[in-house]
Symmetry: C3
Subunit: 148 residues, 3 copies
């Protein structure tokens, strides 16, 4: 009896991937929406959830307005005002403010996928949040289809 | 041989839906727990995850105490103290504080479902967080059953 | 014809469980990474998502640096500075600051699982965030494998 050929695992579109991004300032909200949208389109997933995870301790991820770039700058300045750089922290590397900002905004979020696209609101974009840059950074995506 | 009838796709209880809510103040934590509980009950999902997603940039979602309404009011006043309305923001619409509050609390969260109900703690409720109301708003729910 | 034995449902490794933890101070970031890692290993899930949920209203969960314990202490002091204990809150139990801190850091997060382990970054650990301790507390884990 002939063995039916095993489909190569690599043949399926990627449902998990790592985005490489580069931030440009110490505190920098970087719009990664086009990268995430492309990954969702390439995955072929029609309905499901896109999990976004940042594997860094001085960075995070948020969803907020992408239409007017001033909004992201205002969020950056608000976070800098709330948690300024300060020499009195215990951690000796001088970036405890960046760790605290990361704790406030968080490193994981989940976005629904509908009809093959992210179900973001009209003004929403996904922002990588750099708090101790500029640096190269990573973002993990996991695209999970609904059960049939 | 008679074909067995295909169940209509619409026959399956809804596992994704959009809640319509109305907020009553500029800053307003609105308890949406009964709406989410009802959606979970209607979905017929016994074990799984309920993903809650807010598609707005001046709103968010949190889980906190629903027993004493004073708690929600204290959280509202804390956020207003931390991020006051301020004319010095770059974004010209005068609601950058609302965008920043949304970034702090977040727009997505995931709650386990056990035995057909949300596995919330005894005092927990789910609150839509309005920061630039009053307005009609939406909340996306995605109810994902565990694999068999 | 002999019936093939039904595998007992209990035979499958646990994919949902409750961790019991004990906090030691009023505000205490407690590293629970080893407990979550063990649960993921025991689950036998190779690729998927680990959902972490805190069922309390004066506590939360974050991911941040676990290598230098000073970082967690600096985050604790930052949160205490931002949201101090204050007698002017409406809620009469004197712990509204703890509720607000919980709202800021959040009670749910999702971590990818790759090759059988949490895909945490090199310096990342998972911290239970106590804001009204010391107390015994719970953390719900839900480990969801990718669809085949």
């Amino acid at each position: 009896m002939a063995a039916s050929p095993q489909p190569a695992r690599e043949a399926r579109p990627a449902r998990k991937l790592v985005l490489n991004v580069s931030t440009c300032r110490r505190t920098h909200l970087l719009d990664i929406t086009p990268l995430v949208m492309r990954a969702v389109a390439d995955s072929g997933v029609f309905d499901g959830i896109c999990h976004v995870f940042v594997p860094h301790t001085t960075a995070g991820v948020i969803i907020n307005e992408m239409a007017d770039p001033h909004v992201a700058r205002d969020i950056e300045s608000t976070l800098e005002r709330l948690v300024p750089k300060d020499p009195r922290y215990l951690h000796a590397e001088g970036n405890s403010d960046a760790h605290a900002k990361s704790a406030l905004v968080g490193v994981s979020l989940s976005v629904p996928i509908e009809d093959g696209v992210l179900a973001l609101g009209r003004w929403q974009g996904i922002f990588f949040c750099e708090f101790d840059g500029p640096r190269p950074r990573n973002v993990h995506l996991r695209i999970v289809p609904d059960a049939e």
